[in-house]
């Protein structure tokens, strides 16, 4: 009865050969196209170096002022402004200023990239049922595949550094942007779209003047989710050489430095809350017209 208790599997030899063929195939691919692909991603390298340099070399009082101004501009809420400034001041006092700036620059770059890729894909997805059925499983894989698994080919192709880290973060943080853009556009009131059509809008006019503005609250929620997920990847990205708050955490894990881990962990939480409050209140302010002052 042993055939019932042990699952009938492909025999070991075949399985070994299969793995070998795939591994070797990918290695050959890496060898012949690695440079080309690295060249293709080099603009990202420049973007990342530039934004990191900008944030780390700007004097800290200016950064504090800019953050305060952004918080005020986005929320018009003095409590959010004070909260943001206090968070950053505490981070700085505990000696994590430079690491935090590196992480923030990484998050900004990956969010920007996610929006640039996710918005058009989300729009395409909302346009056709076929596109939706094709993209959905891909997004499922992106969200559930353990990140270490796709770190392997990324590192094989691009080595260790900021760009592979950025790609890993974007793979993980992109799905909510695409999904929520798609959802937001699909939820737009059909009668408003009919009105846009009835007045002779072109497809582009309809998208720009009706669909995107009406989908904006959902799209903003997508951006917010993307930022949060990018922050969640900070520690994992540090394993392939991304500098910032993740590296001290990694060090703390391997050496059991409890306090070091705790401080850096709180710094990540702090900037997560800061990003979240600023982006959410900005999203709300964009929707000011929805506040009905009339029954």
């Amino acid at each position: 009865m042993s055939w019932l208790t042990s699952f009938p599997q492909i025999n070991d030899g075949t399985l070994r050969d299969l793995k070998k063929v795939i591994d070797e195939g990918f290695r050959n691919f890496t060898r012949s196209y690695g440079d080309l692909i690295e060249g293709f991603f080099s603009p990202l390298q420049h973007l990342l170096s530039w934004s990191e340099k900008l944030l780390t070399s700007t004097p800290w009082p200016i950064i504090l002022l800019v953050v305060a101004a952004l918080a005020w501009g986005a929320s018009r809420n003095i409590r959010i402004v004070i909260g943001s400034v206090v968070t950053l001041v505490l981070i700085g006092m505990f000696g994590m200023w430079t690491d935090t700036m590196k992480t923030v620059s990484m998050i900004l770059a990956s969010t920007l990239l996610s929006i640039l890729i996710g918005l058009p894909l989300g729009i395409l997805m909302s346009r056709s049922q076929r596109m939706q059925s094709a993209l959905n499983p891909v997004l499922d894989v992106m969200q559930t595949m353990p990140s270490f698994v796709y770190l392997i080919p990324v590192v094989m192709l691009l080595g260790i550094g900021r760009v592979p880290g950025l790609i890993a973060v974007v793979i993980y943080a992109l799905p909510p942007m695409i999904r929520l853009t798609n959802l937001g556009i699909r939820q737009v009131d059909n009668e408003v779209l009919e009105a846009a059509d009835a007045f002779g809008s072109s497809r582009w006019q309809k998208l720009i003047k009706a669909e995107l503005p009406l989908a904006l609250p959902t799209i903003m929620a997508g951006i917010n989710q993307t930022i949060m997920m990018a922050l969640a990847m900070v520690v994992i990205a540090s394993m392939i050489g991304v500098q910032g708050l993740g590296q001290p955490v990694l060090k703390a894990i391997s050496n059991q430095y409890f306090t070091l881990g705790l401080f850096n962990g709180f710094a990540i939480v702090g900037i997560a809350i800061l990003f979240d409050r600023i982006s959410q209140s900005w999203g709300k302010r964009l929707q000011k017209h929805r506040e009905a002052s009339h029954g």
């Binding site: 009131d189 009919e194 009105a195 007045f199 002779g200 003047k209 009406l214 017209h289 929805r290 029954g295």
Partner: protein, 344 residues
């Protein structure tokens, strides 16, 4: 102001489902809505619609929900594609227009008002009213000037910087009306435009429309399920049931000569005194009566006039000339209608 243009709807059929073209012939040969649905799982939207709408008139299309009236009005600017038939406007068949031609047609020939207003919530009243002109590519200063004129005309001056959510339903529909009128299109499509408003506001908006129509003389297609509304504003009325036109004619025709029991049932609770015009029920002139009344006065006015002057008949005049006379008995008979005989 653009000259009014007419609309010819000919042999229009609409079947909903995956394979509509396949069943048009069967429906033409008389397959019923129920049969189509149970046997072939297709829904019959419209059957053999023929309506000819003269330039500058108000055509009401009325029916209960599910009768196909909203489907019908969406064929005129082709928001819905017909399964068969044609819609001819200025010698052009809308059904055969290319996407570009259709867009131009929608921009310049038609404007639409929607039941739930369908305003853009992120735009101010002014930007909503200017939407049609913006899509046409009219310069900002000019489109704001035109939009502002119509905002004032529909009574919303001072609200142009507000957002739709800050306005009541009636005011929002005024914005919808201003948006449609700002386009200066000769055809105005109104899809249950007033159904979402409460009765007093609805009456108010009907008055706004009738007043405007005296000025702008558009060809208006007005959808409603409210008979009183239909009788009040329609020059001509088409009654729709299960996707077919069961009667069309003037308000007088429909009240005085209902085509079948369904229509008769529909009109039986109408206030005939306010709907029927003296001209529609009068007898030939006899030169006897002394008190005069206009032919387009209502029956209620006529009875009131007889009562105040204590006379048994009226002289009916049109432009100062006698065109008929109205005895008291005729007026009363028309007023009470056939429901008398039904009761007897």
């Amino acid at each position: 102001m653009a000259d009014p243009i007419g609309i010819e709807i000919r042999d229009l059929y609409k079947i909903f489902g995956p394979n509509p073209a396949q069943y048009v012939d069967a429906v033409r040969r008389g397959m019923t809505k129920g049969e189509l649905q149970s046997k072939h799982h297709h829904v019959l939207g419209l059957r053999d619609i023929n309506i000819s709408i003269p330039p500058g008139s108000i055509q009401v299309i009325m029916g209960l929900s599910g009768s196909g009236k909203s489907t019908l009005i969406r064929h005129i600017n082709r928001l819905i594609e017909p399964t068969a038939g044609e819609i001819v406007i200025e010698g052009q068949n809308v059904v055969e227009m290319s996407p570009q031609a259709l867009r131009e047609f929608r921009r310049h020939k038609t404007a639409m008002v929607f039941q739930k207003f369908a305003l853009l919530p992120h735009r101010t009243v002014l930007d909503n009213a200017a939407y049609g002109l913006e899509v046409q590519g009219v310069a900002e200063a000019e489109r704001y000037r035109t939009a502002m004129r119509w905002i004032e005309r529909v009574g919303l001056k001072g609200f142009e910087k507000n957002y739709p959510s800050q306005l009541s339903g009636g005011m929002q529909q005024r914005v919808g009306l201003a948006r449609a009128l700002a386009n200066d299109a000769p055809i105005l499509l109104m899809d249950e435009a007033y159904s979402a408003l409460d009765p007093l506001i609805r009456y108010d908006m009907q008055t706004v429309l009738l007043d405007l129509q005296k000025e702008v003389r558009k060809t208006i297609v007005f959808i409603t399920h409210d008979l009183d509304e239909a009788l009040r504003i329609g020059d001509r009325i088409a009654l729709l049931r299960d996707g077919s036109v069961i009667q069309q004619g003037s308000a007088q025709d429909i009240v005085l000569r209902p085509a079948d029991d369904y229509v008769a049932n529909f009109v039986q609770h109408v206030d005939r005194g306010r709907v029927l015009k003296v001209g529609a029920v009068m007898l030939p002139p006899n030169g006897a009566a002394t008190v005069a009344i206009a032919a387009d006065a209502t029956l209620a006015d006529a009875l009131h006039l007889m009562a105040t002057h204590q006379v048994q008949g009226l002289r009916v005049e049109e432009a100062g000339r006698e065109v008929g006379h109205l005895p008291f008995q005729t007026a009363i008979d028309a007023y009470t209608g056939p429901s008398d005989k039904a009761a007897a």
